[in-house]
Each structure stands twice: as C-alpha cells, then as structure tokens.
Subunit: 460 residues, 2 copies
C-alpha cells in the first residue's frame, strides 16, 4: 500500500472538537426553536436518483450537481459514439444514475409526494443536513455545507408567515444578536408595480435591477432598467416606489395609493398587513414590528419560485450577506406530479451565522459538552484510589478522565490545556491519605483543597 | 420540466419525524456516554480524494466505494484507448478524483495525520456520520448508513480498553437492554495458539475457521481446519482450546497452562487480566465481570487490522448479529506516513440497535421532542385570544401550535392524532369568556377543564 500524503478534497472541511461544539450549539439552538413552533425533523438520503434532481435548478445548477459514477462495468452499455466523441455531457445519464443532494427543497418535495398517504397536512418539517455543489471553492463558499430549512406545506394561512418571523426573531435573539433586520416583501406587490407601469412581462428584469439598489445606487438601477427595456417615463413612476421611506405602516399607506389600480398589488399589501396583524396578536413587542421587521420593496429572492411573501434576514453588527431567507411558493410538489400544494418556509445560513457569532464573540464559553475534570496520573499504585474516584464522578454524570498513564506532569497538564478541560485534580500519596485533594482551576490558575464530596458538589 | 414519478435511490431511506425521534434518541444517548468518558466529537467531509480511500479496504472494498464523476468536460483528458476498449476500471482515475466516505476509520486516520500539530495526544474522538457502500441492498443492509465510532490514539494504556467495556455497558443499559454480552479476545492469544501448534503462518486460516464454531459446530470447524492445512494432531491440541468453558477466571487459568511456552500468548493473557483489573478498579459489579464480559477465544474480527484486545457485543434478547465491536490497532496512521501511533476504538451498530429497541419496545414513549399541545382553531374571531395564549405557552418553552385555519374539528383532531400530539385544547367563545378551557388528553381520551395557569403548570 503506497503511502499517500493526506489532503482534503477541494472545498471540503474537517471540523475539530472545538468547532463541533460551536456548530452543534447553532444546530441545537435552531432545532429547539423549530420544535417549539411545532416543526418536526425529517432526513432524506444524501444521494437521489439523478432524474429526481436534473432540471430543477436550471442549466447552471445542473452542472453543479455532483454525479455518482455507476458501480461495476459502468461503460459496458455506454453508446460508442458518445465515447468516441468524448461527449461528456450526453454520456452522463449512461454512466451515472445517482447524484448528491444539491439542496433540501427538491428532496423535501419528493418526500412529500412519496409519503403523501402517510403524512398529515399541514406538514411542518425541518431538515438540517449537508448539501453538495460543484462550485469553485472560495472564501466562505464550500462544496459541502449544511442547510437548515424549515417549511410547512398544505396550509394557506398567513399565520405561518407570521410564525416564521417569530422563529427568526427567537433564534437570532437566542444567539445573542442585538441588531438585525427581518426584511419582508411580497411577490404580488412586485407584480403590482410591474402592472401599473404596464410592463408585467418585465417583472423579473425590474426586480433584478431594483434588487441592486444597495450596491449600485439609484443611478445604477435606472441605467440597468433602461438597458432592460424600461423608458424614462417608467423610471419616473418607479422612483418614489424604489425610494419609499418611513415606518412599515407609512410604506404600506403609500403603497396603497400607488397600487390602487392593481388588484394583485393590493392583494400583496393585504397579505403583508395580515402577517403584521398575526405577529402583533402573537404578542410581538413594538421593537419587532417597527424596528426589526423591515418592509423592503427592493427585496427579490428567486422570483420564479416564490409566489407570496418573501423574507431575508441581515445582521447590522457584522458586514455579511443574508443569514436567512425564504418565502411562500405555490407549486413545490408540481414537479413530481402533485399539484396545488402551497407551502412557505425559511432557511438559516449556518456557516454565516457561525462566522457572525465568532466575530461578535457570542459563542457561550464553558465548553459544556467537553470533559470537566482531568485527574492527574502520578503513579500506577494510586490508580486504585483515582479510578474509584473517577467512577464516583461518572456516576454523577460528570464528564471526567484519568490520564491513562503516569507520564510527566507537564505532559498531562498540556493535555488538559490542549483539550480545554477547565479543572485538573492532583492526587498524590498525601492527598489520597488525607482525603484533601488539590483542585486546579485552569482558567484562573488558582489551586484549592477539596474533599471528594466538595469536588462532586462543585462540578455537578 | 417533465414530471418525474419520484422514487428513492436503491438502498437509501427517508426518515420520518417519528423515526427521527427514535434515531436521535440513539445518537444522543451514545454521544452523552462518549462525552462522559472524555471523548469529543469531530466530523470529516462526506467525500475524500479518491487516492485517500483507494487500496485501504482490499479489492472488494475498492469496488464498493462510490466514485464521484468529475465536473465539467470530464472526458477531455481521458485516454482514447481506455474509452475505445470500454475499460471501466482503468478509466476511473481519469474521470473521478473524489469518492464518498466508505467508513469513518480511514478519514479519522487522515484527520490525525493532517492535524497532528494541532491535536493533543492521546486524542479521544467520536464520530457519528453516514457512510456509503455500493453493496447489493437487502433486508437490513443499506447503501447509506450511520457509523458511530469512538477511538483514542496515542495511548498504550489498557485503561482505555477497560473504559470501552464500561462505555458499552453504560450505553446498552441506558437503552434498557437486560441481557447482553461483551465478548473479549486478544489477537496475541490467537497468535500464541497458532504458535504452540507450530503453524504461526496459518493464524488467519485458524481464526477464520474457529470463528465459525457457533454456526457450524466443532465437526464443521475441524473439517475446515483440515482443508486449510492443519493435521489431526493439530486438531487434538486445538480441541480443548476451542471448547474452553467456565468463568473468565477459569478460562484464563487454563490458557496460562496451554500457552505456557508462548511468550506472545502469555502477553495476550496478561493484557486481558490487566483490562479486567482496571474494570474492577473502576467499580464494576460482579455481574459485569462474570456475566456480561465473556472471554471468547473463538472471537476474531479483522485480524489484519487489530493487534491487541478485540471486542464484540451481542444481545441475547433478540436474534441479531453483533451490535458493536472494535479493538486495538497498532498502525492506523501508517498508511498516511505517520508510523507507530497505537490506538483502540469501538463502534456501535445504530441500525441494528434501532431494530433491537423497536422489537423490545424500549424506545421511550412521550415523543418529548414533538409538539405537546394543539389549540383547536374554531373561529378566526377567537384568534386574538388563542394567539395570545399560544404566546404565553411558548414563552414557557412549551412546544405548541394553533391549527393555522378554522377548518372542521375532525380534520384538526386528525392532525393532532397523525402527529402524535398528546394534548388538544378546545377554546370556544364560552371557554374564552369563562377562562375555563377544555383540555383533551389524546392518549386516554379524557377531557378536563383547566385555567391558563393550570394548563401551563401541567405542560411545563
């Protein structure tokens, strides 16, 4: 067996114990909040039949799906002409029938359709699993990353939208974020705007352009709108809409006038109002309704997909893209033949949340999940005593270790240090006889004498 | 977009909410025990460079590794002759550079070598992640399944072996298993036996044959030994060893006589004795030492790999293969150029444990992770009241839901039932006015009147 110098596959990461503690903190917090609002966990397989995934993400997306080579003599039935022409693209379905999950949405749609006779609608599920994309790796972009999705299908009620706002608020407040915005918009308002301009067919061009307001400013947006088929007259109508300011209520008030002639636009406004009403009835404080929630007409997310309310969350404490987003869609399962099932859902960007919490030093200290106490191993003769003590500690469910062999003290202390163990117990002959054990607090460096029961009391 | 009738990829599974609760119960229990003994979690990527995995699992194993097709124009640089000859095997490295994890051991070895400057030895890690194998799917064998591995590298101390026995005991007792055996053997005892027969080179043939004692009986084992190059005289020496009976102490006593002339054999016995001594000092009851632990000379697991103690766990309550196994290995990281690092570890068979707990009805009832209360939605007019109550419940971290729209009572009750929600609250005009709410216990069907604070008290 030749020796291989080990390396990671491009765009993938190992997670060390201290990273796992932080990642688990994020996932566990999210799952706790999801469950509190009645969402249950499901998992789907890492790979799906290629036909399940192909065509769902556009041509560019299809290219980014990782395909799995068939096992065995996979070339046996491959057409000679495709091999001869080296036609990589057309050969794929002949040598690959499976592919890695690209997101959690399509597998969820498949799940709902396949299990439609077993599940009770409305079906409220969350899913926290890795997905894989053959993107070019770069800072903050990986080929394997976790998605955290929470969706309900089979319920038209806007109470669901309101609860997603509360889920966002509760999750980010649990993480300790102090200043963030939950942006909300509605696809129907965007349709209304395109309608009053008289160019409903240009809605995608319009939203793609105004979505860039933050980055390129009004002038840039106008330039792009002109390039995309709008006239100066259109820009005059659009300007006050794009630059809409004030409180959410003020914006809604203005929009009602602006969109007075558009039925779909007014419908979108009414939906937003109903969501706000639900949020309010659910006991929201002023801060949520007037500061955290931000009605943003320039917000556009996956317009081919979303049909009602859309959401996006941004933190104002760190320069970072959106840390969450989602919305309502009306035909998730249509791609698998189950029509007319409406749904709404949001997702959390776990990797970005990790970076935000790291930068703001918001991860809880204490490494609660890790060993609390290391007992130093001075002498094999003392093991009868120390192992007995170890047993007593573990009976109290205190995560603890005896260093497994009596090596030099420095090495054992280095082990406790490297592993972030908060307490070290030094038991020599004298301590074992007197019952007065030396306990060192690794954080502050202080050493005190404790009895066994005091030790257990302190660590429990 | 053509409609595809959805199906699962062969050998893969979806996990429903109720299955996830049970699976999480297993994983969480194991992780809690691992942490208590000082083990920390790591995760490695789902795919590795193909060269990292190839050649580590034998020729048969290599065939079962799922290879990932390169992205883009993957055929561009493929040799024409291999394409022309349809040489599936030789073409692989030209069109695939990545592959799905086949087990957690090789990625762990890679991790240790790559991070050797960051980790503190001894390094105690656990890893609970899926692995993928292109096996032919059959009952109980899947192409995607979880492995739960816990290992320590960089410590020769047999205290580690003893603690793995305690980890097995604690985990399986937490699961509620009442009758199981932790079998132990030592590779050195097997070497000693082959040595005293004078055929050390036949150790693998010998162990493969005697490993089958349970299945084919002594006669079958003898037949196979003769076929594999042993003589009748060898069988006469082997017979009392294979049929060794009595308590663990009695077996050890007999083995000392039988292996008196084999240094390696006596070494193996001494190791087992030291492990037992540690187990005893760690406060083990009689039952563990004399009933649960079973010194089994016929036990052989991956002999090319293990070098010291080997373990296997079987339940006696359900007909089922081993539900755990492991042992000591002396050269895990040698394949990646880091020599002389000893390690020991065990793993848990999560899928089999699931089936055992299901059959013995040992999964905790109560679905603690799921919604505790559904509030029936009788009338949109009542939502001010019910949403306010919902908010109070959630403030107490009680997982609860209001049915999102006022549909027929039967449908709402069916939702609670399908989701396994234990309590349903019926709030009509009268209840909202009087503050006397009707709470239905879905399990026993009983309905009682409660005030808001009584409700919170009951569910908290």
């Amino acid at each position: 067996m030749a020796v291989v110098k080990p390396s990671l596959a491009k765009g993938t990461r190992d997670f060390s114990p201290s990273e796992m503690i932080k990642r688990n903190y994020i996932f566990d917090t999210l799952k706790t909040v999801f469950r509190k609002y009645g969402y249950n966990e499901i998992q789907t397989p890492s790979f799906e039949n290629l036909t399940t995934l192909t065509g769902k993400y556009g041509d560019e997306g299809d290219k980014l799906i990782f395909k799995i080579l068939n096992s065995g003599d996979y070339l046996a039935k491959a057409p000679d002409n495709l091999l001869h022409d080296k036609n990589s693209n057309k050969l794929i379905p002949h040598i690959s029938e499976k592919a890695l999950r690209y997101d959690l949405t399509v597998p969820f749609a498949r799940y709902v359709v396949m299990h439609q006779n077993d599940i009770t609608l409305p079906f409220k599920r969350f899913q926290v699993q890795p997905v894989w994309r053959a993107d070019r790796p770069q800072r903050g972009r990986y080929r394997e990353f976790y998605q955290c999705d929470v969706d309900v299908v089979g319920s038209e009620s806007l109470l669901n939208e309101a609860e997603f706002i509360l889920i966002y608020q509760e999750a980010f407040e649990r993480f300790g974020l102090k200043d963030f915005n939950i942006k909300i918009n509605n696809r129907k308002i965007l349709s209304g705007i395109a309608e009053i301009i008289g160019k409903p067919e240009l809605i995608v061009d319009m939203t793609v352009a105004i979505d860039k307001l933050d980055k390129i400013g009004l002038e840039g947006v106008n330039k792009e709108l002109l390039e995309r088929g709008f006239t100066e007259a259109d820009l005059a109508i659009l300007k006050p809409i794009i630059l809409l300011e004030g409180s959410n209520d003020e914006k809604l008030f203005s929009l009602k006038t602006i969109l007075a002639t558009s039925a779909v636009g007014l419908n979108g406004i009414a939906e937003i109002e109903e969501v706000f009403d639900y949020v309010s009835k659910l006991g929201a404080e002023e801060k949520l309704l007037n500061q955290i929630i931000d009605l943003d007409i320039t917000l556009a997310r996956g317009l081919n997909y979303y049909t009602g309310c859309i959401f996006e969350v941004k933190t104002n404490e760190v320069a970072m893209g959106s840390i969450g987003g989602g919305g309502r869609y009306d035909d998730l399962t249509g791609m698998f033949g189950l029509k007319g099932l409406t749904g709404v859902g949001v997702s959390f960007g776990a990797d970005r949340i990790y970076d935000v919490l790291e930068e703001l030093e918001l991860f809880p200290i204490g490494k609660a999940d890790s060993t609390k106490l290391l007992i130093i191993n001075f002498d094999k003769q003392l093991e009868s005593y120390t192992l007995n003590l170890l047993n007593k500690l573990r009976k109290e469910n205190i995560a603890s270790e005896l260093y497994a062999s009596p090596v030099k003290l420095k090495k054992q202390m280095g082990y406790a240090d490297g592993k972030g163990i908060p307490y070290v117990l030094l038991v020599g002959d004298e301590e074992a006889t007197s019952g007065q054990l030396s306990l060192k607090d690794m954080e502050i460096g202080e050493q005190i004498k404790v009895t066994e029961s005091e030790l257990i009391q302190k660590l429990r």
